[in-house]
Subunit: 133 residues, 4 copies
């Protein structure tokens, strides 16, 4: 999945592809997918009721990652201040979800993989912030 | 559209429906619809190219409103701090979109109606904040 | 929530608001909300694991309702054949979800209300079909 | 982005990862991203008004790709008949969007790349159908 090539073809981009922002939205999609699968897998565990806080944070994180992806992919016009705050919020959503998933990473492989995706997305969000102004 | 009745039937709600939060997510859906229609209508105006900043803010606002609706409707588990920050961000997204739409409210009725929906959603977001903790 | 007024202001609508399609997308949003709350409430029931098929159909139905809302609200350009098929699919998603929720409507009020919303959306989808061509 | 590993960890999957379905939802995300960027880039072209049918089909295709991704990633419970029909619809959405984008692929690189992503997603959808039953 190469997002850079098509974003580079946007008429306003003119070489300023903002590669750390592109890496960030790529991680957001990956993380949203991991969180959705983890929530779905938790609901299929016999102990589903005990995993409800994990399901909640997974779904909240997926929603915020998808919103961040949506805004971060746009290059028409400007909305940098809002995007900056959303990316900060996304890093926080990822941190919270990672912490919850890490608690049962030893028992559920989907939680371990989801926590990994969240940590990676959190880092990509923080790395993109200086580029969004 | 009565969201209150079904939220009241959630097993963890127990009478604490948080009515200002329900009003807020109701406004978020209304605002998302208005922003989506306004963006779509702007693209059909012969001066579409000159409305591109409006299209951008409409779409960003719609995405954040939908994320706020998604998180604000959940009552399983807890994620209050994140939700609080998202509602603040949503109020800001609505304010920015309203300001842009107000600039051409005299020329485009869809911009006038969208600005109205954004202002109403901004107010509902701010009113819900004390209830989310 | 009055969708008709802003859709009527779209430059290409010119009086052809397609009111049954507007009623349909309004029901789609209502149904998406009901399905999301029902899925969330099911995950908070101590018997969550036994409600997993209900959670699955709720979430699938919500996703298709939201897609139908998105496409059905657009009036720029044309995509009538695709929209027609999506509305048919949405009616089917609502029927399947309603049937599942009706099975536990006596035990869970959120399932009873969700089934009601699904049946109402199914009917609105079928009523809109002749208008989409 | 490796979706296979986390889907394989779902408790109900038990080795039946359905790899062509996984390839399909991977393409759906890629295509949704390409369609969103193409719509956004079209709105920034000075001839935006003349590209409105392209913007419309891009956005409709992105919405259906995202819904297909959402449903196709779930492995809890069953909803195979609905998913089958949605994947067929997604292939059709991709075909329609590709045909439109191909018309201005010579003039706009984002349309050329978007058409390519749509054709690839259309093929992945058709390849996944025999696996969804």
């Amino acid at each position: 999945m190469d997002f850079r090539e098509i974003i580079a073809s946007h008429p306003d981009v003119q070489g300023s592809t903002a590669d750390r922002l592109i890496a960030c939205i790529h991680e957001c999609l990956h993380c949203a997918q991991a969180c959705r699968v983890c929530a779905d897998a938790c609901a299929a565990e016999p102990m589903a009721y005990d995993l409800r806080q994990c399901i909640r944070l997974d779904q909240d994180c997926a929603d915020i990652c998808l919103a961040t992806w949506s805004l971060g992919a746009r290059r028409t016009g400007r909305n940098a201040e809002l995007l900056h705050r959303l990316i900060e919020l996304c890093a926080e959503a990822c941190r919270l979800c990672a912490e919850e998933c890490e608690r049962h990473a030893g028992m559920h492989e989907h939680c371990r993989l989801c926590a990994e995706a969240c940590r990676s997305c959190e880092a990509a969000c923080r790395a993109a912030l200086p580029e969004v102004h």
